[in-house]
Amino acid sequence: MAVMMTSEQELKGLMTAGLDGDGAAYRMLLERLSTHLRSYYRGRLARAGRGPAEAEDLLQEALLAIHTRRHTYDRAELFTPWLHAIARYKLIDHLRRTNVTRRSLPIEDADEQELTSHLDQGGVESSVDLGRLMARLPVKMRRAIQDVKLDGLSIAEAARRSGMTESAVKINIHRGLKAMAAAIRPEDKR
């Protein structure tokens, strides 16, 4: 069952629909991915002596990265290698930033077993505070994200309300999420 539900084909289908603007499919994709990635990061970080709260931080960082870089997925390719490459890149980058010696770094590939095992804890919190993250954004970005991504206004409504053009709203959302993705990373302690 688990294998069926998480097959490459299904995830790829959800990803492709999401890339075409299907919010429901995209939400389902992110939910599936967060389950996989949570268990992957918990396992890997546990080996480095880190707790589940840190895994949740890293999971959220990875989700933001997946979102802001989703245009780099090539539909002619398989989806899971793209996902694994990002998940692994973010793990290694995280461990480097938080100053772990090379020896304790688990760098083997994310194997199928770990990525597909289930662990349901949707309500887990990270140490990141959304309000504080938002407060660090420039006004226009913060406003566009608040209106469209948090309050659920359409782009057109948000544009009317803020006096920006629709494409300016879109650009501000995009840049704002990228800024959040950068801000959510732990500081480099090296």
Partner: protein, 213 residues
């Protein structure tokens, strides 16, 4: 922040994604970089004034074909290195072919001449200018390409950096060729190749710093 809340935020009013966005960005950066490099060769250093006289066009063509072939292969590989988890391997090894080709041609041309001529053929009068110009001209294309690759998601930063350097260096060599009057195959093999490889090494060194995301 709860992960569920983050997912809700990300999936609310999600925009359709243009599937050519990444390719277009990198292509555009290379195009602008190319204009800068050709402009530097033609207008800053000054285009060669002897163009059209015996054999010069042939050498100009060899230099341009050499540099632009490398650029094409490097760009193609860079597009792949900019995406995570691409199953298709890049063609970095293929980029070695133009280098091998020019070195082969240079060896043939040296073999036909006596050793006494080799120094002039290898060094010309412009080796220092070439050694300095190509890396300096490459700075702007390199910055543009790195900026574009930063918008993508390279996971092997050293490789992506090296390929960015290779693209920038070969573009720069094409620009410099418009100015350069050193018409000898050994010169091209030594100084054009050498400076392009230098740019590639610089890119490989800078990649992990500049491309991190």
């Amino acid at each position: 922040m709860r992960t569920d809340d983050l997912i809700t935020m990300l999936s609310t009013n999600v925009e359709a994604v243009d599937r050519r966005e990444m390719t277009r960005l990198i292509t555009r950066a290379v195009a602008f970089g190319g204009v800068v490099a050709l402009g530097a060769g033609l207008f800053v250093l000054g285009g060669r004034t002897d163009a059209g006289s015996d054999g010069t066009l042939g050498f100009l063509a060899i230099k341009l074909v050499f540099a632009l072939t490398i650029m094409g292969v490097a760009l193609f590989s860079l597009m792949r290195a900019a995406r995570p988890g691409s199953s298709r391997p890049g063609l970095m090894a293929l980029a070695l072919l133009p280098f091998a080709g020019i070195v082969g041609l240079a060896a043939i041309s040296l073999a036909q001449m006596s050793v006494g001529h080799w120094r002039a053929m290898l060094m010309g009068a412009e080796w220092l200018e070439c050694l300095l110009s190509i890396p300096i001209i490459a700075v702007v294309p390199f910055a543009l390409v790195i900026w574009a690759v930063r918008q993508a998601a390279p996971t092997n930063l050293r490789r992506a950096g090296a390929l960015s350097g290779l693209v920038a260096g070969s573009l720069s060599a094409a620009g410099y060729a418009l100015h350069c009057t050193a018409d000898s195959l050994p010169f091209i093999a030594l100084w054009y190749s050498g400076t392009i490889i230098l740019c590639t090494l610089a890119g490989a060194m800078l990649g992990p710093r500049l491309l991190r995301w």
